[in-house]
């Protein structure tokens, strides 16, 4: 199992300053919140997917295809039950589904997919160390930035340990396919405890290793990869800001891209 998302290429997106990429992710998030019409969301998602292709990172997206499909399906299935619309398609014991609510569900599904894909785009094109570096330069305190980067760094390691632990317990006869709720609870301890303890050991050890290499979270340090703001960074941030402004204008003044008004 490999859960690291970084995709070592040398595209324009990889070369962008991490600060630019972090800000761009936020801008795209806000752009996503401008519309709740599925067509508009689809256009935004298509845009993000296009950036993925220019960053040669579609294969990273492929790794989480199940998650994306799951988010979409859940959204489409669940939203219609919580939203009311005018055009009723189907009614049953007080439950009603309208075409608006269905479309809203689609839009929300696409929005979730766009959120996740955008975040992934950052991870696929930015090294962990660059993210830390970017966060610090954006004024985030070092311990916070370091903790965040460490969490991203350790997720695959713990997932690996988790996979081994599952195999070890299955070898002893642990039945993970059983449907019984009670036995589900019972099999929690054999998996959770070794995962927890190995994670504790690992992090403790890592802390020793980092200190032994002269690391301290509050001291100044230089950085081997020094990102540089170039004209390209200005261009990207400028374009995204213009797109955001245009989207806000479309939504607020022209009332475009709205399926259900009064909702994000």
């Amino acid at each position: 199992m490999n859960l690291t998302f970084y995709n070592d290429e040398a595209t324009w997106l990889h070369r962008l300053d991490p600060r630019t990429k972090l800000c761009s992710v936020l801008l795209i998030f806000v752009i996503c919140l401008c519309f709740n019409h599925p067509l508009f969301m689809a256009v935004i998602l298509t845009g993000v997917l296009f950036i993925f292709t220019t960053a040669k990172s579609i294969k990273v997206l492929w790794k989480i295809r199940f998650l994306l499909v799951l988010l979409f399906v859940f959204s489409v299935v669940l939203w219609p039950f919580f939203i009311k619309g005018k055009t009723i398609l189907f009614q049953w014991h007080g439950l009603e589904i309208s075409s608006e609510s269905l479309l809203y569900g689609f839009a929300m599904g696409l929005r979730l997919m766009t959120f996740v894909s955008t975040g992934l785009l950052l991870l696929a094109t930015t090294k962990n160390e660059e993210i830390t570096n970017g966060l610090i330069r954006l004024g985030i305190p070092y311990p916070v930035a370091f903790a965040l980067a460490t969490a991203i760094r350790l997720a695959p390691t713990f997932a690996d340990a988790g996979a081994t632990i599952v195999q070890a317990q299955v070898s002893r006869g642990l039945d993970l396919d059983s449907k019984n709720i009670f036995s589900r609870f019972k099999r929690f301890a054999p998996l959770a405890i070794p995962i927890f303890i190995s994670a504790m050991r690992y992090t403790n050890f890592l802390a020793m290793a980092l200190e032994s290499k002269g690391f301290r979270p509050d001291a100044p340090r230089t950085s081997y990869y020094e990102p540089q703001i170039t004209g390209r960074d200005g261009l990207v941030l400028g374009s995204l800001t213009i797109i955001l402004a245009a989207c806000l204008y479309l939504r607020l003044s022209l009332h475009w891209g709205i399926i259900i008004s009064g909702r994000l």
Partner: protein
């Protein structure tokens, strides 16, 4: 000769423990020297290493008395990050100390902490990657490196900091033989520098090149001296839990003059002094007497879902009841992947896996657990219960055995693993060797016909390794089929009747262990080499596989008797 590291009556015991980890250790290591610290597991080797850069007592707390000076700095008085400019340390678990996402950045990590400018960092990174032989892998993701490469990277990243003292805690543990060879030759090259080197190891063969050997026993410095002084005293080092050098042990056993430390020296001695007559090249190698077939693969191939090439190619193999099999090969040769097919953890991409003639897919999980047990390499990946009894009872309970059978099986399993009396102890507080035995007992309690063990002796000292293997020998004698995946050649040589040699997902050689280990050319193809004892045996043309048997054979006694 100026001293670089000075231990002055150092004693230390960890918090919440009774037995001291180090007791009154005093001694000096001169600048530019290479000291090998050896001892049984729990002798205090790691504690000694960590005391040099102040991790003991500043990170690992406890009662500390005496002092340690490294290049004039008192460790323990200065913070660990400040000591890092003087003392570089490579800790035992090399996986956990690699933190960065690629090789280059890992090398840069310590240099960034030293606030070096980029140009100097680049220079040092390139220079030291060449020293450790990883210059081709500059941009590689560290997670994709082999164990040996990871260890060399861990060493390189500390070397780049150019500290006058370099400490390495068991740098060859948990590494395949090829990786071990690379690291030992790296240490040999580092020795020529100005740097003071301190290395711990469990294996006497690694200590031959040291200037000094320090022997630790139960926290005390029991002896120190040159390799020629220490390694020739077989009973001394055996009492410290270290396997004596095969050459010394054989010469002492035969009462031959001389105490050669290497196979080459031993062979020269034997030749020059005509110690033993040249034998005709007709060794009698016993054939295997197979029982009923229990595991069988037919044309089995496997490819990992994310893999580009097959991890296993057309494996045709039969394992018989009562076999004692060693599976040998480098990391990535497919040993573990194949073994995971034996109990259905992995499903073949093409071909069949049969257990007692029945496809493995036709078994229910709990049926299979009773046929084939699998002990994973790291016991900490399975231990979860608060007592040893509950841990061992997990398998029998979950497989629905009745209470009486459960209790009987648990008692037998604890007895076979030498854990009787440990029932109510907390498994997390046991030492690594004991935890390993708990893991074996918990598989054994299900009474599987076949027991597979992945690296059962990693991280164990000689005494614990021997205990573990003797236990497996007993289990084999009462009818269990044993399959051991191992990097420790002497374990395969001394205990396995059959050895399977793997390379790049194929079986290279499969036969009686004594025959497999006679074929040094084939072993070399799999990047393996026999232990010193067996290399000497092959040179002398003997048939015996253990020291005692070799002595008997040389004296003309019957081995089988």
């Amino acid at each position: 000769m100026t001293s670089s590291i000075v231990f002055d009556h150092l004693s230390f015991s960890y918090q919440n423990t009774i037995a001291p980890a180090l007791q009154d250790v005093s001694g000096e290591m001169t600048r530019g020297s290479f000291t090998m610290v050896m001892g049984h597991s729990g002798a205090g080797k790691s504690t000694l290493c960590c005391a040099i850069n102040g991790l003991v007592p500043r990170f690992l707390r406890g009662d500390y008395a005496g002092r340690v000076m490294a290049e004039g700095l008192e460790a323990g008085k200065i913070s660990v990050p400040d000591m890092a400019r003087t003392v570089g340390i490579v800790l035992q678990d090399f996986e956990a100390q690699l933190f960065s996402t690629n090789v280059e950045l890992e090398m840069a990590f310590g240099l960034e902490n030293q606030c070096l400018p980029r140009a100097i960092m680049e220079e040092r990174i390139n220079a030291y990657l060449r020293v450790v032989g990883l210059e081709e892998l500059l941009r590689r993701d560290t997670a994709t490196l082999s164990g040996g490469q990871k260890q060399r990277l861990a060493i390189g990243s500390v070397l780049a900091m150019e500290t006058p003292v370099l400490v390495m805690d068991e740098p060859t543990t948990d590494i395949d033989p090829e990786g071990r060879y690379h690291i030992l030759s790296l240490i040999r090259r580092l020795k020529t520098g100005e740097r003071t080197l301190v290395v711990t190891d469990l294996d006497a063969e690694a200590a031959v090149q040291a200037d000094q050997i320090w022997l630790l026993k139960e926290g005390r410095l029991s002896a120190k001296g040159t390799p020629a002084e220490i390694l020739t005293d077989a009973s001394l080092i055996e009492s410290c839990g270290i396997r004596p050098l095969a050459t010394v042990a054989l010469f002492q056993g035969m009462s031959w003059p001389g105490q050669p430390l290497t196979v080459e020296a031993a062979a020269a001695d034997i030749e020059n002094r005509r110690l033993c007559p040249r034998r005709p090249e007709s060794r009698v190698i016993s054939a295997l007497t197979p029982g009923k077939v229990i595991l069988e693969t037919r044309n089995l191939s496997y490819r990992y879902p994310t893999g580009a090439v097959n991890a296993l190619n057309d494996i045709d193999l039969t394992i018989h009841e009562g076999d004692f099999v060693a599976m040998l090969g480098q990391n990535g040769s497919g040993k573990t992947t194949l073994a995971k097919h034996f109990n259905g953890l992995l499903k073949s991409t093409t071909g069949d896996m049969l257990v007692r003639g029945r496809p493995v897919n036709n078994y229910r999980r709990h049926e299979l657990a009773k046929e084939v047990g699998y002990v994973f390499q790291n016991p900490d990946h399975q231990i979860f219960a608060p007592t040893v009894r509950e841990e061992v009872a997990f398998g029998p309970r979950i497989l629905g055995m009745d209470r009486k059978t459960q209790e009987g099986n648990i008692a037998e399993a604890l007895d076979a693993t030498g854990l009787s009396g440990f029932e109510d102890k907390n498994p997390f507080l046991l030492n690594r060797g004991e935890r390993q035995r708990v893991a074996v007992a918990s598989i054994l309690a299900v009474k599987p016909a076949v027991i597979i063990l992945d690296e059962p002796t990693t991280g164990l000292d000689y005494v614990h390794q021997r205990d573990t293997m003797e236990m497996l020998k007993r289990l084999n004698r009462i009818g269990h089929t044993i399959i051991v995946i191992t990097h420790a050649m002497w374990i395969a040589e001394a205990y396995a009747r059959r050895s399977i040699l793997m390379k790049e997902g194929r079986i290279l050689l499969d036969g009686p262990t004594s025959a497999v280990f006679s074929d040094e050319a084939m072993l070399a193809k799999a990047a393996l080499a026999p232990s010193d004892l067996i290399r000497l045996r092959n040179r002398l043309g003997l048939a015996a596989m253990t020291l005692d048997d070799m002595i008997k054979e040389l004296r003309g006694e019957n081995i089988l008797a």
